[in-house]
């Protein structure tokens, strides 16, 4: 799956999108975030880190697959 990256997460992962292969079925957004945090420990040092699934803030329970647009959401700072 392709994961969109913004702000500080681009610097942590070193690109603007992340191609991520995962075999697990019934993968929840919470599990995906845990996997990403394990692979990129710097993500856990942020004030907050979350996912968006198809343009909506994830609540952790969404089942995600290659068809979904996933984005990592570091602490937002608009305004």
């Amino acid at each position: 799956m392709k994961i969109l990256l913004f702000g500080i997460t681009k610097e942590i992962i070193g690109s603007s999108t992340l191609d991520f292969t995962i075999d697990q079925t019934d993968l929840t957004s919470e599990t995906l975030l845990d996997i990403l945090k394990e692979k990129y420990p710097e993500l856990s040092k942020l004030r907050s880190i979350a996912l968006a699934v198809n343009g909506e803030h994830a609540n952790g329970s969404e089942i995600v697959s290659d068809k979904d647009e996933i984005a990592l959401i570091p602490p937002m700072s608009g305004g």
């Binding site: 913004f6 702000g7 004030r47 909506e56 984005a71 570091p74 608009g78 305004g79």
Partner: protein
């Protein structure tokens, strides 16, 4: 009007016009601008990055909530993307309501919520470096 624009394209007058309403007696406008300092450090510019499709949909949600919660007739929110120099506009929020109190409250609600829910990231540039705002505790 819900939009992301380069700061130089943001037209405050047309945003205010966009919320004019014959049955409303109040228009309140919040304009966020780039200040030249942060806890004593000189800020040289800001850069805003957005997850654009989601940012627009989250801004639309705020506008919809403002209409419902504060009985606003029209709501416009325009946020800058890209470079923003000191003194330039980062965000404009305009709300029309029948009476003034609701329009003040609506603008405050909109900017507070924007900061919490809209996927936009601000990079601050100083004379000696730069950082993504709020990234680390």
């Amino acid at each position: 009007m819900i939009a992301l624009q380069q700061t130089k394209e943001i037209n405050t007058a047309s945003i205010i016009d966009s919320v004019k309403s014959d049955y409303c007696g109040a228009i309140d406008v919040f304009i966020g601008t780039v200040r030249d300092n942060l806890v004593g450090k000189k800020v040289t510019k800001l850069f805003f990055e957005a997850y654009e499709t989601m940012a627009v949909s989250e801004l639309q949600k705020i506008a919809d909530t403002v209409k419902e919660k504060f009985k606003a007739d029209k709501v416009s929110i325009v946020h800058a993307v890209g470079d923003c120099e000191v003194g330039e506009i980062a965000v404009v929020i305009a709300v029309s309501t029948p009476h003034r109190k609701a329009s003040f409250e609506a603008c405050e609600y909109a900017i507070d919520t924007l900061k919490e829910t809209v996927p936009i990231w601000k990079r601050e540039y100083f004379e000696d470096g730069s950082h993504w705002v709020f990234s680390h505790p």
